[in-house]
């Protein structure tokens, strides 16, 4: 008996939009968390160092190959709550069904805001898709500006 990852009921209606021919896409689970570089640059979030530390995503090598993407090429990570463009990196030890983004504005562009009535949004375990893109990665200020109405 194999347990599939649990998926929140309300995600059932989630419709993956990318149907463009020739674009390979994987379905995966987003996890965001601290990293030491993200932590070390926490007090300098306007710097290139913080951008380098927080604006990327990690997949395992197999996933990256399946996408036809090489290291540092941009991918679009999308969830029911938004999408973000990030350069891809390899974490060889990641399992197949996980995309990792360091905690920070880029991860939080697509995490699940629902607190399930207990105060805490869903920063981990969010169903996501990853696909190659030629779109650029937004800087911190550019990303924040997208929230202005």
């Amino acid at each position: 008996m194999t347990h599939k990852p649990f998926i929140d009921i309300r995600i059932v209606t989630y419709n993956i939009k990318s149907t463009v021919k020739g674009v390979r896409m994987i379905e995966t689970i987003l996890i965001s968390a601290r990293t030491i570089d993200q932590g070390a640059t926490l007090e300098e979030k306007t710097s290139q160092a913080y951008f380098d530390a927080a604006a990327y995503c990690e997949l395992n090598e197999g996933n990256l190959e399946a996408l036809g993407v090489s290291v540092d090429q941009n991918v679009k990570v999308a969830t029911a709550h938004g999408m973000v463009v990030l350069p891809a990196k390899i974490d060889a030890r990641l399992p197949d069904d996980i995309v990792f983004i360091p905690m920070g504005p880029w991860a939080n562009a697509i995490v699940d805001p629902d607190t399930c009535g207990c105060g805490m949004p869903g920063f981990k375990g969010v169903p996501a898709t990853v696909e190659a893109t030629t779109d650029p990665v937004l800087s911190m200020k550019e990303l924040m500006a997208t929230y202005m109405e």
């Binding site: 008996m1 194999t2 347990h3 599939k4 990852p5 649990f6 929140d8 689970i29 996890i31 968390a33 601290r34 990293t35 030491i36 932590g39 070390a40 640059t41 926490l42 007090e43 300098e44 979030k45 306007t46 710097s47 709550h81 938004g82 974490d91 030890r93 990641l94 399992p95 069904d97 996980i98 990792f100 905690m103 920070g104 504005p105 939080n108 562009a109 697509i110 995490v111 699940d112 805001p113 607190t115 399930c116 009535g117 207990c118 105060g119 805490m120 949004p121 869903g122 920063f123 981990k124 375990g125 911190m140 200020k141 924040m144 500006a145 929230y147 202005m148 109405e149």
Partner: protein, 440 residues
């Protein structure tokens, strides 16, 4: 060259208090014994983009921040809070307890919602404590006694770099004189993290199945292993049995848990179940837990809020008395309901660490930031008030992740006002404005 010894590091909840800092001409030129995070924070003081002057945005969110005086910024902040119907005060976790006490007074005075970064961190751990309690110990007890260390949903190599050498895996204690040789270490995480490299056992569970795994362990500990399926949380039953056997064989076990418990499916119910597991295990072994707190004084916020108001977080003062209902009055819930009409934050960065929906609302309401450095929160703040860095430029109290209070030192002089001073001045201004209106 003067060396200040036993300096308290003000980065993470480890609150290491053995740093050695060299100061010359009021500049920190060397930081000894700190990890990468502590060094970056303490040394980085002079490298990072400091908010040098108070600033105000005069023409809406898309206008530029313009420099002003402290008085102007503080007056503007007070005006915003007094004019608001549903103000919120958030953060106050990378600052001293003395400042947090003032933040409580300001929240009471303005009838605000009042919450900490635990809202996006260990808030569910507090809820779990309310469900089932928190069997815990001090970090020194764990150092001296623990022969089984379980890191569940946390990654100390990245987030608490000195934890393992000072308090856990590698620490040598009274009954663990050989350090790692006297201990077993387990990591439970969907990722094979850097922390897991040195683990005796890694349980790489399916994301979001923590509750299932805890429940399975409880079944085994209570003698009901026969009811379990062959695969549990994406793991073979044998592997879960192995962890249960290690638990049963240990004399003193400890579960250090992180966001893998609090932010995943089940939220506080997983923490609640960890407590239940510990209650079960203590029938035969000693077993405790400690939450791996991120902000160095988020524990202190919980302490101050609890003794001042009765509640650790997510407090609503709009009724005059303290009201608490975290799923309703937690920061992200009220922001996403677009209920808040003014926002003050200090020593925290909601702009970087809140989900997109919450940040969107912050772009539509007057926002006040009290902080030492520019960050995403600065992007939408209408009033920006620069603050001294607690533990470097001013002293005060902080609480370690295990609830141990330690007094932070002042290392260098500064011309910036402290969080405590800024809050005190805002309170005075608010009272003045309310007095003028004839309010209570």
């Amino acid at each position: 060259m003067p060396v200040i010894k036993d300096v308290v590091c003000t980065f993470c909840g480890c609150l290491c208090d053995d740093l050695e800092v060299n100061v010359e001409d009021n500049k920190i030129i060397k930081v000894g014994k700190a990890c990468k995070l502590g060094r970056a924070k303490t040394m980085g003081m002079f490298l990072h983009e400091r908010i040098e002057k108070p600033m105000i945005r005069k023409n809406g969110k898309d206008s530029e921040l313009e420099e002003c005086s402290y008085d102007e910024a503080i007056t503007k902040a007070a005006e915003i809070l007094v004019a608001a119907k549903r103000p919120m005060s958030y953060g106050w976790c990378s600052t001293s307890c003395e400042a947090i006490e003032k933040a409580v007074v300001l929240a009471e005075e303005t009838g605000s919602l009042f919450d900490s970064t635990a809202n996006v961190c260990h808030g569910p751990s507090a809820l779990a404590t309310q469900e089932k309690g928190a069997p815990s110990c001090s970090l020194g007890t764990a150092k001296n006694y623990a022969d089984l260390i379980i890191f569940w949903g946390c990654n100390p190599v990245h987030a608490h770099p000195r934890h393992q050498t000072r308090y856990s895996t590698m620490a040598k204690g009274a009954f663990t004189p050989n350090g790692k040789k006297d201990k077993k270490m387990v990591v439970v995480d969907p990722r094979n993290t850097d922390t897991a490299k040195k683990a005796d056992l890694l349980l790489q569970l399916t994301p979001g199945t923590d509750y299932v795994l805890i429940e399975a362990l409880r079944a085994i500990v209570n003698g009901h292993e026969d009811v379990l399926p062959d695969e549990i949380a994406g793991l073979p039953k044998a592997k879960v049995m192995e962890l249960a056997d290690m638990c049963k064989a240990s004399k003193f076990g400890i579960i250090y848990f992180g966001m893998g418990i609090t932010q995943t499916r089940g939220r506080y119910k997983s923490g609640d179940n960890v407590s239940s597991l510990l209650s079960d295990l203590n029938q035969t072994n000693k077993f405790v837990m400690i939450g791996m707190r991120g902000h160095y004084n988020v524990t202190g916020f919980g302490q101050v809020a609890a003794w001042e108001t009765g509640f650790p977080m997510a407090i609503d003062f709009s009724r005059g008395s303290a009201y608490y209902n975290p799923g309703e009055t937690g920061t992200n819930d009220v922001l996403m309901r677009k209920e808040v009409d003014a926002f003050i934050t200090g020593a925290a960065d909601p702009g970087a660490h809140f989900p997109q929906e919450s940040v969107k609302h912050l772009y539509t309401i007057p926002a006040i930031q009290v902080d030492g450095y520019a960050n995403p929160t600065t992007e939408f703040s209408d009033v920006v008030i620069p603050a001294a860095i607690a533990g470097v430029e001013c002293d005060g109290t902080a609480y370690r992740m295990d609830g141990q209070p330690i007094r932070m030192k002042k290392l260098i002089e500064t011309t910036f006002k402290t969080d405590e001073e800024i809050l005190t001045e805002i309170i005075a201004k608010v009272r003045e404005l309310k007095g003028a209106e004839g309010g209570a």
